[in-house]
C-alpha cells in the first residue's frame, strides 16, 4: 500500500530564486522520515515539491526527478490531482474547512473524488476518525463545525481528512508547531500508528520530535540567507543524533548553530 519516494537532484525555484539545490534522497515505504534544519533552509519547499503543491505558488517551478514507485511525479502526462490524492498533506496550522462540519471535513476529499453513497462516506468517516484517534472525542457531535474543535483536535481532524482518501504517502509540514505538548504527543502516537499503512515524511523544528518518531532523518541547511538549501546529511535517525558524520549536523543538533 505505502510507496517508495525517490528524489534525484531536485532543485526548486520561486521565480528566479533557487530555494533548494539538487536534493537526492530515497524514502522507503512504511517509514517515518524527519526533515530537520534551520528556518528557510528549504525543508518545506522540498516537502511541497513531493506532492506538487510547490507549483501552486506563482512562478514556482522545479528541476530534477521525483518518482513514486518508479512513476515520475512530474511527468507532463500525469494528472496533478492524482499525484495529490496519492500523496496527502497535513499543514503547519490546522486548516479544517471553516464552513463544514466535522463529518463534512473528513469526507471532503472523498466527495471531491466523486464518492456519493452515504454508507460509504459514513464508513470512511468513522474509520478515518478512528485512525486519527479522534473518533471517541467527536462521535457525538459530527454535525458540529470542525473549526470549533481545539487546535490539537483540529489537526487530528485534518489528518483524518487526509487519510480518508487513502493516500500512499502522508506529508506533514510541522504538524505540531501550533500545538501544546499534550496534543503534540497525541499526534506523535498517531504517527506511529499510521506508519503501518503509510509512508510518512515530516518536517519539524523540534529535534526531540524527530528523534522520537522518525526512522530516518534528513538535515537541511543553508550557507547563508539567499543561498539555496541543501541536504547536508541523510541517515538513520539513531546515527544522526548519536554520531553524525557531518560537522554541521553535529553543530545543529547540539544547538551550536541555527
Amino acid at each position: 500500500m505505502a510507496k517508495r519516494i525517490e528524489a534525484s537532484n531536485v532543485t526548486s525555484y520561486y521565480g528566479s530564486f533557487k530555494a533548494i539545490d539538487s536534493i537526492s534522497m530515497t524514502v522507503e515505504p512504511k517509514t517515518i522520515t524527519a526533515l530537520i534544519g534551520p528556518s528557510g533552509c528549504g525543508k518545506s519547499t522540498f516537502l511541497r515539491s513531493i506532492n506538487r503543491m510547490h507549483e501552486v505558488l506563482p512562478g514556482a517551478r522545479i528541476e530534477g526527478r521525483l518518482t513514486i514507485d518508479e512513476q515520475n511525479i512530474y511527468d507532463p502526462d500525469v494528472d496533478v490531482t492524482a499525484v495529490r490524492r496519492l500523496i496527502g498533506m497535513v499543514f503547519q496550522r490546522p486548516n479544517p474547512f471553516p464552513t463544514m462540519s466535522i463529518y463534512e471535513n473528513v469526507v471532503a476529499g472523498l466527495k471531491l473524488n466523486g464518492v456519493k453513497k452515504k454508507s460509504v462516506l459514513d464508513d470512511a468517516a468513522e474509520q478515518s476518525l478512528k485512525s486519527a484517534n479522534l473518533w471517541e472525542e467527536v462521535k457525538d457531535r459530527l454535525g458540529r463545525p470542525g473549526a470549533g474543535l481545539s487546535g490539537g483536535q483540529q489537526q487530528r481532524l485534518c489528518i483524518a481528512r487526509t487519510i480518508a482518501v487513502e493516500p500512499q504517502v502522508v506529508l506533514m509540514d510541522e504538524p505540531c508547531s501550533a500545538l501544546d505538548p499534550i496534543s503534540t504527543l497525541a499526534i506523535e502516537d498517531l504517527m506511529f500508528k499510521l506508519k503501518d499503512r503509510f509512508t510518512i515524511i515530516i518536517v519539524t523544528h523540534n529535534m526531540q520530535q524527530a528523534a522520537r518518531v522518525s526512522d530516518k532523518t534528513g538535515f537541511f541547511s543553508i550557507d547563508k540567507t539567499g543561498e539555496p538549501g541543501r541536504l547536508i546529511e541523510y541517515d538513520d535517525t539513531q546515527k544522526i543524533f548519536s554520531n553524525p558524520s557531518q560537522k554541521k549536523t553535529e553543530d545543529y543538533i547540539t544547538g551550536r548553530f541555527g
Binding site: 503543491m53 490531482t81 481528512r161
Partner: protein, 357 residues
Amino acid sequence: MGDNPSRSTDATAGGSGVTGRHARPAGTGVSPSSYQEPPIGGGGAPLQRKARFSMETGFRGLSVSAGAMVLVIIVAIAVFLISKAVPALQANTANFFTDTKWFPNDAQPNFGIAAIAFGTVLSSVIALIVAVPIALGIALFLSHYAPKRLATPLGFVIDLLAAVPSVVFGLWGRDVFSQPVKDFSVWLNHYFGWIPLFGGDGPFGRSILLGSLVLAIMVLPIVTSLSREVFQQTPGMNEEAALALGATKWEMIRTAVIPYGKPGVIAAVMLGLGRALGETIALALTLGTVFTISFNLIQTGGNSIAANIANTFGEANAIGRGALIASGLVLFAITLVVNMAARAIIYRRREFRDSAA
C-alpha cells in the same frame, strides 16, 4: 457595560506604567530630574485615580449619540410618511393592496399598489436572475483566474461601472439598448411564444425585459465588486487544503472559496436587490407604464413603485401625493422583508462562521 471605560482607563495607566518600568533601570540617572513620573509598583505612592472626564467618556458619548441619531431619523421619516399616507388611504375607494388601477387624483380616488408592486418585484427578480450568475463569474475570474495585471484594471473598470448615474443607464436603455432588446423580443416571441412569458402579439419594446436588463447591468458591478472582495478573503490555507486533497481548481473553488464567501455573496446580492427595487429613473425611462399584472416579459408594459412615483408625482394633488407616499411605504416594507430574509440566511449558519474567525 458600565465598567468598560474605566477598565480601559486603567489599561492606559498600566500601559504608561510599563514604559516607565522599562525605562527606569537603564535611564534613572540620565532622565531629567524635572520630569516627575508617578512611581509604579514598589514606589509606595497611592494608585493613580481614575480621571473623571477623559477621551473615553467623550468618545463614548459621541458614538452613542451617533447611534441614536439613526433611530431619530428613521422615526422622523416614518412619522412623516405615515401622516401623509393615512389621509389618502382613507379617501381611497378601492382596496389599496389588491387593486391594480392608479387614479388617486380623481374626485373619487381609487388606487391600489398590486400592479406596480408586482412590476417592481418582477423586474428586480429578473434583473438578479440575469446579473448574479454573470457577476459571480466575473468575481471568480478576477479573484482566482485572471493574472494580477489583468485583474486590477478590470476590477477598476467594474467599479467605474458602478459609478455611472442611473439616469445615464435609463437614457441609454431607452435610446440605444431598446432596439436590440426589441429585436430579441421579436425573436423570442417567434420561437418561444408558446411560453406565456414570451407570448403576446406586440408591440414589443419598452417591456419588463428591457427594464430588467438595464437593471441587471446596474446591479452587476455592485454584486461583482463585493463578491470579488469576499472571494479574495478566502484563507489561503483552506484553498491549499482542498488542492492537497486532489481538488482541481474549480473543485477547490467549490469546496473552499464559495462556501466561505456565501454569506458575503448573499449580502452582495441583497444590496443589488435593494438597488434594483429602489431604482427609479432608469425604470421610469424604460418601462411601458402600464397598470396591469402580467407575466409577459416582452410586450410593452411593466411599471414599478419608484418609477410610478417619478412619473406621476408632478401632476399629483394632495391625495395623489399621499397615495404615492403610501406606495413608497410598501416599497420600504418590501425592501425590509428582503433584507430580513437575507439576514436570516446569513445567521442560520452563524455557528460555522463564528468558529471560523
